[in-house]
Amino acid sequence: MFYREAGQFKTSYAADQAIFPILQDRIFVAFLLLVAFVVVPVVANEYWLSTILLPFLVFSLAAVGLNLLTGYCGQLSLGTGGFMACGAFAAYKLSTGFPELNIVVVMLASGVITALVGVLFGLPSLRIKGFYLAVATLAAQFFLLWLFNKFAWFTNYSPSGVISAPPRAVFGDFFVTGPQATPAGKYLFALTLVALLALAAKNMVRCRVGRSWMAIRDMDIAAEIIGIRPLTAKLSAFAVSSFYIGVAGAMWAFVYTGSVEALAFQIDRSFQILFMIIIGGLGSILGSFLGAAFITLLPIFLSNAPNIFGLSISVDTVSHFEFMIFGALIVFFLIVEPHGLARLWQIAKEKLRLWPFPY
C-alpha cells in the first residue's frame, strides 16, 4: 500500500486540524492501540509486561511531562526525579491516609500535589533562564529527596525508608497494586492512564496553551508583546509538566515496582528522562514515547546481543557500552538533529510519501 496523502483533500479546517490528518496514519494508530490493548495483554509473558512494558509506559509519561516543560516551553529542568518522588510519596500518603480513595483518584491527586510543588519550584523561571534555571531545578531535586529521607512522616515511619503500595483495585477485584494485581492488569491500567494523558497533552500542544508555551520558548519578548503573560505561561507549563511527572512517579512506586525508596528518584533519574526527550525529540509527544522506548530497550538489547552473536562479554563491559552509546547518541542528536527520533521518523514518512517517485 502506498503511504500517500494524494487525493485526500481536506475540505474543512476541522479535518486539517485533526491529530492525524492522513488516513494511513489513522489506520496505523488504530491498529497500534488495538495491539496494545487487546493483543499484548493476551500474548505477552510476565517478563515482557513487568520488566519492559511497564517501565516503558512510566518513562513515557514522565518524558511527556518533561517534554511539555523543556521541549515545548523551553524551560530546562533537572528536577524530574524529585518530582517523581513527590508523586510517589504523595500517592503513598494519600492511599494510606484515606484507604477508601479509589486508586485512580489517588494517582490524579498525587499529580495535582506535584503540580503545586512544581509551580513553587518554577517561580525562579520568571527571573532566570537556561543554565541558571537548570541549577535552580537541581535545587528542587536535592531538596525534595532530602525532605523525603529526612522526615519519617512521609514513609509512615517505616524504619527502612521504603514505601510499599497497599493493594488497591480500580473496581471490584480488578487489583492494580499489591500482591493480587496481575501483570496484565497493571499493564492495562498503566496503558489506559498513559494513553489518555498523552492524548490530553497532544490536545494541549495544538491549542492556545501549547502555542503560548512554544511562543515563550521561541522568543519570550515577542510572546509578551503579543499579549502572553510570561508568568501564566511558564507557571502553567511547570504545573502541567509536574502533574504528568508526579503521576509517573506514583505509577512507578505503585504499579511498576510496588515498593520504592527515595533513592530510586535520584539525579540520575532526572538525567535519564532528559536524555529520553533529547533522543526522542524535543517538542514532540511521539518523540517522548520513542525516547522512552529507546532507553528502556537499549540496555536489554545490549545485554542480550552478545548471547545472540555467541559472544561472551562481561556485564561490566556491557554497561560501559551502554554509557558510551548513550553519550555518543546524545551528542549526535544535540548537534545533528535536535528534534530527535521523532524528526527522523517524519523525514522517513516524507520520503515514503513520495516513494517510489522521488521527484
Binding site: C207, I221, I225, I226
Partner: protein, 271 residues
C-alpha cells in the same frame, strides 16, 4: 467599515517623553500624537530613537519622564502584554517570529488574546474548545489570503526567506485585530517588488480595517507616498511633525536629514 479612512481625533498622545540608557539619551522631551485611522511615519537617521519610541509606546521601555495617553486614558507604567490587551500590536526591526512554529501557528498565536476557552476544555479538545480553535483558524485563513501567503501556511517560519518572514510577522500582528499597529521598518531589506507589495498591504489594512498605523521607514519615497503625517526625529529630539509636504519643506529637516538631497536639488537647479 467603509468610512474607516475618516481621520479622527488623537488615539494616542505622547507628551514630553524622555528616555535614557545610562548616559545615552535616546529620547529627549518628545511630544506628538497619533490620530485615529491615520498612517503616521516616524523617520530619522540611524540611532535617532525611532525604535525606542515604539518600544515606549508598547510598554517595552519605560521612559524616565513624560506621559502617554491612549484612548483618553493616561497610563501608568505598563507591561507589553497589557498594551497588547488594549489593542496595540507591532512588528520588529529584526524579525521576532517564533522560529520553531509554522506560519499558521505563528499567526494563530496572534489570536491568543481572543481565545477564551479554559485550559481543561483545551486538554480535552471538546465541543467549545474545538469550535473556538476552528473559528480562529478561519479568521487566520482570511489574513493568510489577504497577505497572499497561502502556500507557506505549514512551513516552519525559520525556513522562509526574509521578505516572507516580514509578511508573516505582519500577519501575526494583524491577527490580533489591533486598533494601533506599530511597524518597525516593515520594508527594510526588501527588493522593490516586495516593497510595493508591503506598501499595498499597509494601505489596504488602513483602508479596510481602519487600523491606525505608525511606521518607521527609511525609504523617503515610500514615506511620502503612504503616510498622512510624518514625525522626524534626530538624536532623540523631535525636529518636525506634519504632512509629508510640510515636512519636506521644513528647513530644520532639510538641514539635518535631507541635507544631501537638498544640496543636490539646489545644484541641479543651478545648472
Amino acid at each position: 467599515m467603509h468610512a474607516a479612512r475618516q481621520i479622527g481625533g488623537p488615539l494616542l498622545q505622547v507628551e514630553n517623553i524622555s528616555l535614557s540608557f545610562g548616559g545615552v539619551r535616546a529620547l529627549a522631551n518628545i511630544s506628538f500624537e497619533i490620530r485615529e485611522h491615520e498612517v503616521l511615519a516616524i523617520i530619522g537617521p540611524n540611532g535617532a530613537g525611532k525604535s525606542s519610541m515604539l518600544n515606549v509606546i508598547n510598554g517595552f521601555y519605560h521612559p524616565q519622564e513624560g506621559r502617554i495617553t491612549y484612548k483618553g486614558k493616561t497610563r501608568a507604567r505598563m507591561r507589553p502584554h497589557q498594551a497588547a490587551a488594549q489593542g496595540i500590536a507591532r512588528t520588529f526591526q529584526n524579525i521576532a517570529l517564533f522560529k520553531g512554529m509554522s506560519t499558521l501557528d505563528n499567526i494563530m498565536t496572534g489570536r491568543l488574546l481572543k481565545m477564551r476557552q479554559p485550559f481543561f476544555m483545551q486538554a480535552l479538545y471538546l465541543g467549545p474548545a474545538k469550535r473556538e480553535e476552528l473559528e480562529h483558524r478561519a479568521f487566520c485563513e482570511r489574513i493568510i489570503d489577504f497577505l497572499e501567503i497561502q502556500a507557506i501556511r505549514k512551513t516552519p517560519v525559520g525556513r522562509l526567506p526574509y521578505g516572507l518572514q516580514k509578511r508573516v510577522e505582519l500577519a501575526r500582528a494583524l491577527a490580533a485585530e489591533p486598533e494601533l499597529l506599530l511597524l518597525d521598518e516593515p520594508m527594510a531589506g526588501m527588493n522593490v517588488e516586495e516593497k510595493e507589495d508591503m506598501c499595498r498591504f499597509v494601505l489596504d489594512v488602513n483602508e479596510h480595517f481602519g487600523t491606525t498605523i505608525a511606521l518607521i521607514e527609511h525609504d523617503m519615497g515610500v514615506v511620502m507616498d503612504i503616510s498622512d503625517r510624518v514625525v522626524v526625529l534626530d538624536y532623540g529630539r523631535k525636529l518636525a511633525d506634519g504632512t509629508p509636504d510640510e515636512v519636506r519643506a521644513d528647513q530644520a529637516v532639510i538641514d539635518a536629514y535631507l541635507g544631501v538631497s537638498h544640496e543636490e536639488t539646489a545644484s541641479a537647479a543651478a545648472e
